[in-house]
C-alpha cells in the first residue's frame, strides 16, 4: 500500500515539475517575442491542467472535504459547490497575499511567503479541528434521529468548509502569479490563477462527489451500524490532523 502511494505521489510530483517547466518555457517565449497569441491560450490551458494535477497531490483539503461529506452526507450538487468554493478561496487567498507581497515587500517576498504560509496552516488547523467538532455534533444528532436524510448543506456551512480549508494560500498559484508579475504580465498572471483554480475545483469536487456516492451506496446499508461507528474514527483522524498541523 505504501509503495503504491509512493509511486502515485512520485507521478504527481513528476507531472507538476513538467507542467511547471512548460509554463516557464511559454512565458520565456512570450518574453523573447517568439510566441504569438496562441501562447496565451497555451499558458491558460497549461495552468488549468496544472491545477488539476496540483490538487491531485497531497494537501488542498481533499481529505477534510471527503471526511465532511462521508460523515455528514449530502447532495452531489453541494459536493460540487464545496470543491469549487474551496478552490476559489484557496486561489483568492493566494492572489491577495501575492499582490500585497509584490507591492510592499519586494525584497523579502519568499521569506514572507513562507512565514504567511506557516501561519495560515496553523489557522487552517484550528478550523479543521472546529470542523471535526461540528461533525461530531452532527453525528451524535444523527444517532438520536432514526430517519437521517441527506438534506442540502446550507450555503453558510459550505462557505465555512471552503474558508477553513482554502484560507491556506496555494503556493502553486502564488508562484505562477508572482512569476508573471515579475515579467510584467499582470492580467495573464491573474487569468492563469483563475484557470488553475478551475482545474483544482474539478479535482476537489470529484473527491467530494465520490464520498457522497460512497455514503449513499445501497450495499453499505447492511453495515450502517459499523459505518456509523467508523464515522467517529474519521472524526478523530480529522481532529488529529488539525492537532498535528498545529503543534
Amino acid at each position: 500500500m505504501s509503495e503504491l502511494y509512493d509511486a502515485f505521489l512520485s507521478h504527481i510530483i513528476g507531472w507538476q515539475k513538467e507542467l511547471n517547466s512548460f509554463l516557464t518555457d511559454a512565458f520565456d517565449s512570450l518574453e523573447s517575442a517568439q510566441g504569438g497569441v496562441e501562447v496565451y491560450g497555451y499558458i491558460l490551458l497549461s495552468a488549468f491542467v496544472y491545477g488539476l494535477v496540483h490538487a491531485l497531490g497531497p494537501g488542498h483539503g481533499k481529505m477534510v472535504i471527503a471526511s465532511y461529506f462521508l460523515v455528514h452526507g449530502s447532495k452531489v450538487r453541494d459536493a460540487l459547490k464545496a470543491g469549487f468554493l474551496t478552490a476559489l478561496v484557496h486561489t483568492f487567498s493566494a492572489l491577495g497575499i501575492t499582490a500585497i507581497l509584490y507591492l510592499f515587500f519586494q525584497n523579502a517576498i519568499m521569506k514572507y511567503f513562507e512565514r504567511i504560509n506557516a501561519h495560515a496552516y496553523k489557522l487552517s488547523a484550528i478550523f479543521i479541528m472546529l470542523v471535526a467538532l461540528f461533525l461530531l455534533f452532527e453525528t451524535l444528532k444523527e444517532r438520536r434521529s432514526a430517519t437521517a436524510q441527506y438534506a442540502s448543506t446550507s450555503s453558510k456551512s459550505l462557505l465555512k468548509i471552503a474558508f477553513s480549508i482554502g484560507i491556506v494560500p496555494c503556493p502553486g498559484v502564488m508562484s505562477i502569479v508572482l512569476f508573471s508579475m515579475i515579467l510584467g504580465y499582470y492580467t495573464l498572471g491573474v487569468a492563469s490563477a483563475m484557470s488553475m483554480s478551475v482545474g483544482m475545483g474539478i479535482t476537489m469536487s470529484l473527491a467530494a462527489i465520490a464520498t457522497t456516492h460512497v455514503k449513499k451506496a445501497p450495499f453499505l446499508n447492511r453495515y450502517k451500524g459499523v459505518l456509523h461507528n467508523l464515522s467517529f474514527v474519521g472524526i478523530a483522524l480529522l481532529f488529529g490532523l488539525g492537532m498535528a498541523i498545529l503543534v
Binding site: H11, I13, K17, S21, L23, P58, H60, F179, L237, L241
Partner: protein, 160 residues
C-alpha cells in the same frame, strides 16, 4: 506508538506538497561527497528577483550570504535534508562550503559533506515535509553504487 507516529507522518504528508523542484547532481570521492542542487526555472526566477538586489544577474558575496541565511541555514534543523547510514548506525553529517550562483537562469547551490567510506553506506536526500522535491540527475562515483529514486527523493547505496 510506532503506528501512531506513522499515522501522524502520513497525515502530515497529506497536507504538504512540493514548492521547489530541485535537480540534484552527486559526485562521490574518497573522503567527501559533492552536492549540486539546481532549482527549477520558475522558482529560480522568483529567488533571483528577490536576492539579486542590484539586478546585475550575478549573486555577489553579500547577496549569496543573504540567500544562504534565508533558505539554506534553516534546513540545518532537518540535517539539510541529508541522511547517512553506515551499517545500522545513523551518521551525523555536517555539510560545509555552501555556495550559491546563477547558471543559465537557474539558481545553483553547491556544498560538500565530508565522509570517509570505510564500509557499505547509504545516504539519502529527502525533505520529509515534501516542500522540496529532489530529483537525482547525475551521479559520478569512484565506488560502485545503487540508486533508488523517485521524483521527490533518492537514496544511494555506496559500496567502497
Amino acid at each position: 506508538m510506532k503506528f501512531f507516529y506513522l499515522i501522524i507522518v502520513f497525515h502530515l504528508t497529506l497536507c504538504a506538497h512540493p514548492h521547489f523542484f530541485i535537480d540534484t547532481d552527486i559526485r562521490i570521492e574518497k573522503e567527501a561527497i559533492f552536492h549540486r542542487w539546481r532549482f527549477d526555472a520558475l522558482n529560480s526566477k522568483l529567488l533571483i528577483f528577490e536576492f539579486d538586489t542590484d539586478k546585475n544577474g550575478i549573486l555577489d558575496a553579500k547577496e549569496a550570504q543573504h540567500f544562504l541565511k534565508e533558505h539554506i541555514e534553516p534546513l540545518a534543523a532537518n540535517h539539510s535534508n541529508l541522511f547517512f547510514q553506515s551499517g545500522e548506525k545513523e551518521i551525523p553529517i555536517k555539510p560545509k562550503d555552501f555556495n550559491v550562483s546563477i547558471a543559465s537562469k537557474r539558481l545553483v547551490v553547491t556544498f560538500t559533506t565530508e565522509y570517509l567510506f570505510s564500509q557499505p553506506s547509504i545516504f539519502c536526500t529527502i525533505d520529509a515535509t515534501l516542500y522540496m522535491a529532489y530529483q537525482l540527475r547525475n551521479v559520478q562515483s569512484i565506488y560502485a553504487y545503487d540508486a533508488q529514486k523517485s521524483d521527490y527523493d533518492f537514496c544511494l547505496g555506496v559500496n567502497p
